[in-house]
C-alpha cells in the first residue's frame, strides 16, 4: 500500500491513536524539547508565545521601574555633586564621572527600551499570539489553525526579531523613543544599534502579519459545522477584527522602517529635511501603522472582556451583534484617524478633519462599554479574579477613553500634547485596558492552559495591588500633565517632585502586585488543585474538551448545539453549569 511521506505525516499523522493531554511528554527530556521546538500544535505555540511575551513584559517592566526610580528625585548639581541621577550606572550614563547630560542620556535609552519592548514585543503580539493562538481554534471547534507551519514560523520570527531588539540594548541602547522620529533617528551619532532596533521592529512585523493572516483564514474556513458568523464567541470577532488591522497596517510600517534604514545607511534623502526630504512623511507613514495598531492592542482585550463578563455573571451578553459589529467598526475607523498624533505638524484643515474623525472611534467603543454594563444587570455575578479584573477594566478603560476626548479636541490638545497627560491617558488605555484584560483572560483560561486551578485569594490580593498601584502611578500623572510636566524628560522643577514620588510609589506597588501574581501562577503550576473540565460554567467550545485539552483538541468532531451565551436556554434553573456535561438542551421556545 502507499505510505504517506514524512512531510505529510507531520500534519496528518499525529493524534487519532494518542488522545492524551497536549502537555503529556511523549519522549525523553531532549525529545520533548525538540517536540516543542518543532511543534505545529497551536496550543503549544500559544504557550510558547505566552512565555516569550511575558518575558518581554518583565524586561519592559524592569525598564519602567528604573525610570520611576530616576524620577523620584530631579537631577541636580549641588556643591559640584550630582544628585538624583539614579541611572548613571546604566549604559551611557557616565558612571562615576556622570554629568546631568550623561545621566539624561541613560534615561532616554531606558525610556526607549521600555517603549519599544512594550509596544513591539509585548502588547502587539500579547493577546492574539498567546491566548488567541490557544483558544481561537478551540472556540471554533477546529483541530488547528489554517496554516500550522506558518504559525510556528511566526513564533520563530518573533523570537528572532526580539533578539535584535535585545541586541540593540546590549550594543548600548537606543535613545530615539519608540517612534523613531526622523531626522533625529537618522542622524543621531554613532548608533548602529538604532538600525538593530528598527530591524527588530521590521522583523516583528512579519510575525504579526503571519499570525493575523492565519487567524483570518482560520475564522473563514475552520468553523465547526453549524457555527455561523453570529454563533461565534465575541472573542473570535475581536481577534478577527484585530487580524484585519494586522494584515493591512503592518506592511506600511515595513516599508517605512526599510526606508528609515536606507535613510540612515545611504542618506537617500526621503525623510531628512537637510537632504530635501520630508520628516512629516515619516510621521504620516509611521502613524498610518501605529494608530491602527493601537486597536490591535485593545480589540483582543475587549474580546476577552466580552467572554469573561458573560461567563462570570452567567448571563447572555447584551447586544451580541452590536458588540460584534463595533469590533469591525473600530477596525475600519482605526485607519482614518492617524493624523491626530501629529496635529501640530500638519495644516489646520487636516488637523480639523482628523480631530472630527477621531471622535468617531468613541462611538463603537462606547457601544461596547454600555453593552457590558447592561449585561451585568440582573446577572449572577461571581467575584472571581477574572471578574474582578473585568470590573477593573471597565473602570480604568472608561477613564482612559474619556481622557482621550480632550486630547482629540484641537483646542485642549494644544495644551496637553506631549505632556504627562498623554502618558497617563495611553497607560490607562494600554495598561488599564489591555494588560488588565490580559490578566482577566489569563486567570479565566488558566485552568484550561495547564489543568490546574490558581489560588483564588492570592490572585485577588494581586489584583487589588495591581489596581491600586496602577491608579496611584498614573492618576497622579494626569495632574502632572495638566500642570505642564512634559513627557520624556529625565528631570523636572521641584514643584513636581511630590507627584513624581507618589507616582513612583504606585509603580512599586504595581510591581509587587505582579510578583504576587507570579507566585500564584508558579504555585498553581506545581501545587494547584486539578481543574475540572469546565470550572466557570462557560458555554463556548473550549470548555467542551478535556482540561488541559487533548492533543487533537476534541474527541470526535464538535457539533454546535447551542450559542456561546445561551445560559438561559441551555442551563436549567437550579443547575450549576459547572456540572458538565449539561443535560440535553431545553425544547425550542421554553425560555425560563
Amino acid at each position: 500500500m502507499t505510505t504517506v511521506d514524512n512531510n505529510l505525516d507531520k500534519l496528518a499523522g499525529h493524534g487519532h491513536h494518542d488522545e492524551g493531554s497536549y502537555l503529556t511528554p511523549k519522549y525523553g527530556p531532549i525529545g520533548t524539547v525538540w517536540d516543542w521546538m518543532t511543534t505545529v500544535d497551536h496550543k503549544k505555540i500559544g504557550v510558547m508565545y505566552m512565555f516569550a511575551v511575558l518575558f518581554m513584559f518583565f524586561l519592559g517592566g524592569f525598564a519602567a521601574i528604573a525610570l520611576r526610580i530616576e524620577l523620584l528625585e530631579p537631577a541636580r548639581i549641588i556643591d559640584g555633586e550630582l544628585t538624583g541621577a539614579a541611572l548613571k550606572y546604566f549604559p551611557g550614563g557616565g558612571g562615576e564621572n556622570a554629568s546631568i547630560a550623561s545621566a539624561g542620556n541613560a534615561y532616554n535609552r531606558i525610556m526607549t527600551m521600555h517603549g519599544a519592548i512594550m509596544v513591539f514585543m509585548f502588547i502587539v503580539p500579547g493577546i492574539p499570539a498567546s491566548l488567541g493562538n490557544f483558544f481561537l481554534p478551540l472556540m471554533l471547534g477546529a483541530k488547528d489553525v489554517a496554516f500550522p507551519r506558518l504559525n510556528l514560523a511566526s513564533w520563530y520570527v518573533y523570537v528572532f526579531g526580539s533578539m535584535f531588539g535585545v541586541l540593540s540594548i546590549f550594543m548600548g541602547g537606543v535613545d530615539t523613543g519608540w517612534t523613531f522620529y526622523t531626522p533625529y533617528s537618522t542622524t543621531t551619532a554613532g548608533q548602529p544599534q538604532v538600525i538593530a532596533m528598527v530591524l527588530a521592529a521590521f522583523i516583528l512585523g512579519f510575525s504579526s502579519i503571519f499570525t493575523g493572516l492565519n487567524f483570518i483564514v482560520t475564522t473563514h474556513k475552520l468553523r465547526a459545522p453549524g457555527m455561523g458568523w453570529f454563533d461565534m464567541p465575541l472573542f473570535i470577532w475581536a481577534i478577527y477584527s484585530t487580524s484585519i488591522i494586522q494584515v493591512l497596517a503592518t506592511p506600511v510600517i515595513g516599508i517605512t522602517l526599510l526606508l528609515l534604514i536606507f535613510e540612515r545607511v545611504l542618506q537617500i534623502g526621503i525623510f531628512d529635511p537637510g537632504l530635501g526630504g520630508d520628516p512629516v512623511l515619516f510621521q504620516h507613514f509611521f502613524w498610518f501603522y501605529s494608530h491602527p495598531v493601537v486597536y490591535v492592542m485593545i480589540l483582543p482585550a475587549m474580546g476577552i472582556i466580552s467572554e469573561v463578563l458573560a461567563v462570570h455573571c452567567r448571563k447572555r451578553i447584551f447586544g451580541y451583534r452590536a458588540i460584534a459589529f463595533s469590533s469591525l467598526a473600530i477596525a475600519a475607523i482605526s485607519f482614518l484617524v492617524w493624523g491626530h498624533h501629529m496635529f501640530t505638524s500638519q495644516g489646520e484643515l487636516g488637523a480639523m478633519i482628523f480631530s472630527f474623525l477621531t471622535f468617531f472611534v468613541a462611538i463603537p467603543t462606547a457601544v461596547k462599554v454600555f453593552n457590558w454594563i447592561a449585561t451585568l444587570y440582573k446577572g449572577s455575578i461571581t467575584f472571581t479574579t477574572p471578574m474582578l479584573y473585568t470590573f477593573a477594566f471597565l473602570f480604568l478603560f472608561s477613564i482612559g477613553g474619556l481622557t482621550g476626548l480632550p486630547l482629540g479636541a484641537l483646542s485642549t490638545d494644544l495644551h496637553l500634547h506631549d505632556s504627562y497627560f498623554v502618558v497617563a491617558h495611553f497607560h490607562y488605555v494600554m495598561f488599564g485596558g489591555t494588560v488588565i484584560a490580559l490578566l482577566a483572560g489569563l486567570h479565566h483560561w488558566w485552568p484550561k492552559f495547564f489543568g490546574r486551578m490558581y489560588h483564588e485569594n492570592g490572585a485577588r490580593l494581586g489584583c487589588l495591588l495591581v489596581f491600586v498601584g496602577f491608579n496611584v502611578t498614573f492618576f497622579t500623572q494626569f495632574f502632572l500633565g495638566t500642570q505642564g510636566m512634559p513627557r520624556r524628560y529625565a528631570s523636572y522643577v521641584d514643584e513636581f517632585q511630590i507627584y513624581h514620588v507618589i507616582s513612583s510609589i504606585g509603580s512599586f506597588t504595581l510591581a509587587f502586585g505582579f510578583v504576587v501574581h507570579l507566585i500564584v501562577f508558579l504555585h498553581s503550576m506545581f501545587l494547584g488543585e486539578k481543574a475540572t473540565q469546565n470550572p466557570w460554567g462557560g458555554l463556548t467550545l473550549e470548555w467542551e474538551t478535556d482540561t488541559p485539552p487533548i492533543e487533537h483538541n476534541f474527541h470526535g468532531d464538535p457539533v454546535l448545539t447551542h450559542g456561546p451565551y445561551d445560559f438561559d436556554e441551555v442551563v436549567p434553573p437550579g443547575w450549576d453549569p459547572k456540572d458538565y456535561p449539561l443535560p440535553e438542551p431545553a425544547p425550542e421556545g421554553s425560555k425560563h
Binding site: L11, L248, G254, T256
Partner: protein
Amino acid sequence: MATIDTQHSKLPGTGDEKVSYWQKYKHGHHWRNADDEFDAAKIGIWLFLATEVLLFSGMFCAYALFRLMYPESIAAGSSYLDWRWGGLNTVVLLISSFTMAMAIRNVQLNQQFWARINLLITFFCAAGFLAIKLIFEYIPKWGQGKRPGALFNYPFAETSHESVWWGIYYVSTGIHATHVIGGMVLIAWLLVRQHKRHFGPTHYTMMEGVGLYWHIVDLVWIFLFPLLYLVH
C-alpha cells in the same frame, strides 16, 4: 479543483507502484476536505498579496510626494532612464506571467512535460529581467555617479534634488528586484517538486500560490515602469 477529470491518470490503490504524490495526497489532518484546504490557501495568498500591495503603496506615496515637491528633479531623473530597456523588461515579465499561468494550466491537465517547459521559461525570464536591469541599467548608472543619497556624485546634474530621485529609483526597483529573486527561488522550488511529480490535477495548491505571487510582482512593475520611465 477536485472536479477536474482524473481518469487519464493512474489512481491510487491500483497496485501501480508509480503512484504520484499528488494522487495520494489527501489533505492536512485539521481539514475536513481538500476543497476547504485549497480555498484556505487561496484566501491566505490573496491576503498576502494585499500586504504586498500595501508595502509598495508606501513607495508610490513617497514618489507622488516628491513629484509634487521637486517636479523638475523628478523629470530630469526620469529622462536619464532609457524607456527601451524598461519596455523590454516589461515584455519579458509579461511573457513570464503568461508562461506561469500556462504552467498551472498544464498541471491541471496533467501535462507534466509542458508544465516543466513553461516553468523553466518563467524562471529564465525572471533571470533575464534581473540581468537586463543589472547589466544595462544599474551598473552603467552607478558608474556614472547616478547613485542614491550620499553616494550621488554625478557631475552634470542640472537640478537640485536628483540624489532624492535616485534614492526613490533604487529603493523601489531594488525592492521589486528582491521580489523577483524571491520569485525565482519559489519557481526553482516548484521545478524540483514538479520533477518529483508533486503536482497534478487534484493537487496544485503551491503552483497556484506561487503563480498569484508572480503575477503581483509583474503587476508592480507594470506600475513602476510608466511612473519611472515614461512620465515626464
